[in-house]
Symmetry: C2
DNA sequence: CGCGGTGTTGAAGGCATTCAATTGTTGTGG
DNA sequence: CCACAACAATTGAATGCCTTCAACACCGCG
């Protein structure tokens, strides 16, 4: 939970954009070549280890950038320690607050995470300079609102079985979307859980034990197959969709 | 639940801005006089009755505007009818999607609601024309993200007592914020519930009965006093804050 | 006065939690 | 390479909170 940057590794950003894995999905997609160079000049790549705090606005640890690799969890906590994950960030997602203001959300690396980090104040200048950039950020904010509201339905109205099914479905679809053109669309979907049972519980508003029990239930019912503790195989996506909302 | 506009009442918008109750709080606050006139020219005021659907993007009932008066609930539903309120809109709040795109959220008038409605496509032109307008909308979107995440903590991690206390606290603070300069700051806070028990339940991820029971508990414990079924008096705000998160 | 809608209250049951113990996994040093 | 510690995950049993089902009270209104 240390807030220092001791573990960061800095790399050269300038020539990286061309070969960037998320170049055509991140906010910088909207920028022209010249504009991109301008952004690249205020950029540096940083790698965080699992468990490291990336964003903690209340503690002045303010970061603005794009996730290149890994998974970040956004959490909010109550005074007595109860925690709720309010969002997950994946590669190409924007992290940080583009406009100033506190929000009491913590961002913590779940896996090893690589961030293409922008200088915050200069980035805010660029937002005002390039309307398309502001538009891209605005679109992302609207998508975040949608995602948050979708999750509110899950938290408020779904039972444990539906919650787990919805969570697995989300990961399965994400994995499916990343398939190449040559891959077999009919093949069972495989992916690995990016997080621990504790994190899943905090994401779904459940306890660790309930998460474990429900996963076991899916395993024995054949809805999923587990290759290891973290690697999951979904033989029938529709069956999972069926379980995810109401059956 | 009818989707027609039969009940709307149209008024003159052009001269209304100057005396508008939310003029200095709505998105249009950022606009200069000339720009405001341009916005006013694509504006008309519409009044909705309780229960009327205001926004249903999936059914092409797309509205963009500012709430002038009343309360709107934003809901999402599961296939089997379970419902979750994912947001409440109050006067000065922006309603609708400034940028195109579906989102399967319904907006329904809870009380009688007056909306300062903009022509959607023309409004989108104005957004591109005036960066400050886009910025104001962006800020609002970020605030919505914050509010949604705050509510995710409530839905996922708070128990019934804390949920009700948090809800009442929100209304109490809203009421307190609207006090004039001459009002007594020490006086107990009074407000009336804008919605039914069923709506409160859908907002908090509870059932009607649990809502009723918890309110009764607060009533008998003295945390609140009820003047009628809808009118509430909070003698001690701190006590409510105490109940709202963890006691 | 009766009716429909809304809200309250009671009793019983179920689902998720809590508490507790065991098993499995991972990484590290002997 | 194995033993061991530390952590993560599973499984069991009991409790409790919220829900469900049901009946009744309240209230505005024709």
């Amino acid at each position: 939970m240390a807030l220092d940057y001791s573990q960061e590794r800095i790399e050269h950003p300038l020539r990286v954009c061309a070969s960037c894995a998320v170049r055509n999905r991140a906010v910088c997609t909207t920028l022209e070549t010249g504009e991109l160079a301008e952004l690249a000049s205020i950029t540096r790549h940083v790698v965080f280890n699992p468990g490291q705090i990336i964003v903690a606005e209340a503690e002045n640890k303010e970061i603005v950038g794009t996730i290149i690799r890994g998974v970040v969890k956004l959490t909010k906590a109550l005074a007595d320690g109860r925690e709720q994950i309010v969002g997950l960030l994946f590669p190409s997602d924007f992290i940080g607050r583009a406009r100033e203001g506190q929000s009491q959300v913590f961002g913590e690396a779940v896996t090893e995470v690589e961030v293409c980090m922008f200088n915050a104040s200069r980035f805010r200048h660029l937002i005002d300079k390039y309307p398309s950039l502001k538009g891209a950020l605005y679109d992302r904010a609207l998508n975040e609102v949608d995602a948050a509201r979708e999750w509110m339905v899950l938290l408020g109205r779904k039972n444990a079985e539906e919650k787990i099914a919805t969570f697995l479905l989300m990961l399965a679809k994400r994995s499916q979307a990343q398939r190449g053109a040559g891959d077999d669309d009919e093949a069972p979907i495989a992916f690995s859980l990016p997080m621990s049972r504790a994190d899943i519980a905090d994401y779904l508003g459940l306890t660790i034990e309930t998460v474990s029990r429900q996963i076991t239930k899916f395993k024995t019912s054949g809805a999923i197959r587990m290759l290891s503790g973290r690697d999951i195989l979904v033989p029938d996506l529709e069956r999972l969709e069926y379980l995810a909302s109401g059956e």
